[in-house]
């Protein structure tokens, strides 16, 4: 069922948008490239051109040569940016220290994020990268593109920037690496007007959400990860572009507990697909696996001979809750004991499917080590239906944000705030009852912080009354 975009999507045809002619694009020969030496001495980097893995140095030298042979007026920032970047990288190896330094605040008008300032601390030696800022371009959900879009970005970025990119940044954005302060606004206008495309988040705001491939090409997905990701990214554009939070806040959308977009490890609010009815079983397909007609785990272990598929050893015995059994050739699952770990489904995708009555679990508080230590997201909402327009999800988000914005200290992530307040207090504030699903085990220490109103007679007591019963 097709989904509708917020606004009609501007059609992009590279033939209409392009800057460079075909000749300009292919302005060097293989031979030239083979003998091409950049203006700086980069012995260590040249060592990295060898080896089977795609060499980022070899790739950079292509662009360096390409810029060398473009006419002056065919690039608005310094021709030598790539060569200077490589030169500075070599010096970094020699010094064993980076040569990028803090920058001032850069950005586009009306936005507090999306552009990261970068300045070289060797501007004299590498003038072209004295200013070498990063622009984060909010990627389409699950990073599907077409060549019209990408070729247009390339022409724009070679013309107005270094031609260097990251596909993709850690949080999911398409990253444009290195342009001058002057070109920030023009690039923003090209992105919004020509590409109908906005920039991502950075700083104390909602960062660019990202999702797994979901129902686009995965049989395990329990909800429309792309649609929820797109909807929340659009609905919270203000929170994304205008930092008003104590610190960064990340959404990530995993279609199932396999967690291919790592939401449980990398997002303050982690959405993970789940189901509340029974795993669907195709008994014939199960028999096919047992008989060896279908390769287990989609052939992911083909590289080694593990012997004949053994459903007992490989599936039933590995089930963490031992809720599966073979009863005269039929696979039986005691679903109320199943914790939806995905193993059996992963091993026999042709035979087993998640249930139909699906939704999401919401976990809170993941973050990397800085500052108090790494955290993984904690299970808070066991099950929530996930259907457009997702009002129940938005309501929950806003309740959590309200608390975090109220109580969060400067640069205090949600997970750290939850630790500072304690899980019981946090639940009370966002109005949720406690459930054993939220903990691995109940507390092991007996230090319970009772509230005065919960203790009959309260805490105001008179010593005389006590002494009447107990002599000193």
């Amino acid at each position: 069922m097709p989904f509708e975009p917020k606004e009609p999507q501007k059609e992009i045809k590279y033939q209409e948008t392009r800057i460079y002619s075909d000749e300009e694009l292919m302005n060097y020969t293989e031979e030239e490239l083979k003998n091409f030496k950049i203006k700086h001495d980069i012995p260590d980097l040249e060592e990295l051109e060898k080896g089977p893995w795609p060499s980022f140095v070899a790739d950079a030298k292509q662009e360096a040569l390409h810029r060398r042979k473009l006419a002056d007026d065919r690039m608005l920032i310094d021709r030598d940016v790539v060569e200077d970047m490589l030169g500075q990288l070599q010096v970094s190896f020699d010094d064993g220290e980076t040569h990028w330094k803090h920058g001032g605040i850069v950005g586009v008008f009306g936005y507090g994020g999306g552009v990261i300032g970068r300045y070289s601390d060797l501007p004299e030696k590498y003038p072209s990268i004295a200013h070498f800022h990063t622009i984060r371009v909010n990627q389409p959900a699950s990073k599907f593109y077409n060549s019209d879009f990408l070729r247009t970005v390339c022409d724009m970025w070679e013309y107005r920037g270094s031609g260097l990119m990251n596909l993709h940044g850690s949080t999911g954005d398409l990253v444009l690496l290195g342009t001058t302060t002057e070109q920030l606004e023009p690039i923003f206008f090209e992105l919004t007007h020509v590409l109908g495309q906005d920039i991502g988040g950075s700083g104390s705001n909602l960062r660019t959400p990202s999702c797994c491939i979901g129902k686009a090409r995965c049989e395990f997905a329990c909800y429309d990860t792309q649609d929820l990701c797109y909807e929340l990214t659009q609905y919270y554009q203000d929170e994304l572009h205008r930092p008003a939070f104590p610190y960064k806040f990340k959404f990530k959308f995993d279609g199932c507990p396999n967690g291919c977009v790592a939401s449980i490890a990398r997002s303050d609010m982690s959405f993970i697909g789940t189901w509340r009815d029974d795993i669907r079983i195709d008994q014939d397909a199960v028999k096919a696996y047992i008989a060896g007609d279908v390769v287990p785990n989609g052939g992911a272990h083909k590289g080694r001979d593990w012997g004949k598929f053994d459903i007992q050893k490989e599936v039933i015995d590995l089930c963490p809750t031992k809720c599966m059994s073979l009863v005269d050739g039929e696979l039986v699952i005691d679903n109320k004991e199943c914790t939806r770990c995905m193993h059996c489904i992963n091993v026999m995708p042709k035979a087993l499917k998640p249930g139909k009555d699906t939704g999401i679990s919401i976990l809170l508080g993941a973050k990397a080590p800085i500052l108090e230590g790494a955290q993984m997201a904690t299970l808070i909402v066991p099950f929530m239906k996930a259907e457009p327009p997702y009002d129940n999800i938005k309501e929950f988000i806003e309740k959590v944000w309200e608390f975090w914005m109220e109580e969060g200290k400067n640069r205090e992530r949600l997970g750290e705030l939850m630790q500072r307040f304690g899980l019981p207090k946090f639940l009370e504030i966002i109005g949720l009852p406690p459930a054993p699903q939220m903990v691995k085990t109940p507390r092991e220490n007996p230090y319970i912080f009772w509230k005065e109103e919960d203790v009959p007679g309260g805490w105001t007591r008179d010593i005389k009354e006590y002494r009447a019963r107990h002599k000193r």
Partner: protein, 395 residues
Amino acid sequence: MALSTERLGLYDPKDPLKDRLTDLGPRHFWQYFPPVIQNNYGKWAYHEVLEPGILVHVSETGDKVYTVRCGAARFMTVQHVREICDIADKYCDGYVRFTTRNNIEFLVDSVEKLEALKKDLESRKFVSGSYKFPIGGTGAGVTNIVHTQGYVHCHTPATDASSMVKAVADELFEYFQGMQLPAKVRVSMACCLNMCGAVHCSDIALLGYHRKPPIIDHEVIDKVCEIPLAIAACPVGAISPDKTPEGGKTVKIKQDRCMFCGNCYTMCQALPLSDKEGDGVTILAGGKISNRISQPKFSKVVVPWLPNNFPRFPEVVENVKKILEAYAADANKYERLGDWAERIGWEKFFEKTGLEFTEHLIDDYRLAYDTWRTSTQFKFTDAAWNVSKTAGGIE
């Protein structure tokens, strides 16, 4: 409408708000789904990894989509992206996608196109001989190494990312193009503790690490930083206010409290802490994100520090291989590295990998007590005999 070529394009500095379009958000995903995906959205029935890097997904409708996954350095120039577009146009009606771990995926809807696409991709090499689009990264192998900017573009790294990943990926290439491991091995790399690449839950994590407290740039600190912010930045309260001889505001640092996390430098550029001799690489292992069989778990520090031996990091590569090969030789099918270490016991992990268990690996941060072994359940290894002998237990 064409991309503009005027110096400031459509932007009018005299009237910054004019024609400004904001809050557009990303382009809608549906338009970038190839037909075979649009037609089978939500209908996929099952998949199979035909060979390393080649997937087929079969829909309830009977439609099939073949996916060719290629490794990528994540760092790409427009030339490389244009070449990707050429391939996409030639075989995939212009469509292409990227995975969470920065692999490239070309989707075709027929076996013929698949074979042609494969042959084409295998033929493309950089002039230096390295593959442009190596096919692989699926199933029980080592897929693309997620990593961060490093010296290429970051101001707080303790090592370089692109070079380390290139060095390690070259050495593990057989595992990228093979599926011979007991289970998939996620290798990730981050060039400092901010861990933009979230390596804290990887089978093998490579982490840039400082080992020297910051140098204080007294001369400018009060001009370029908010001193209270720098003081509050320290998680262990090692930074406190101080006066310069001239009476200016600065800070002092209790060096033996510092754990080199670098957060003070992130907040204040007058507190640089990178250092050629001090900085290096910490290796962690045994982390996991998926909920499959066992619950998600953090990676554990298994090698406290290795030198930044640019550009090929021989020591890092050697230690990664020790871990991977011990795991490959001993773990059960489907058993992730962390589950294997827990099953055989971490003492056996260090024995089988040959890594040295030093005092650095024992937790002495906030939740340390929970990591202490409060049991007599242990296996004897040389490490146990060594401490028993020193304690006077045995001759």
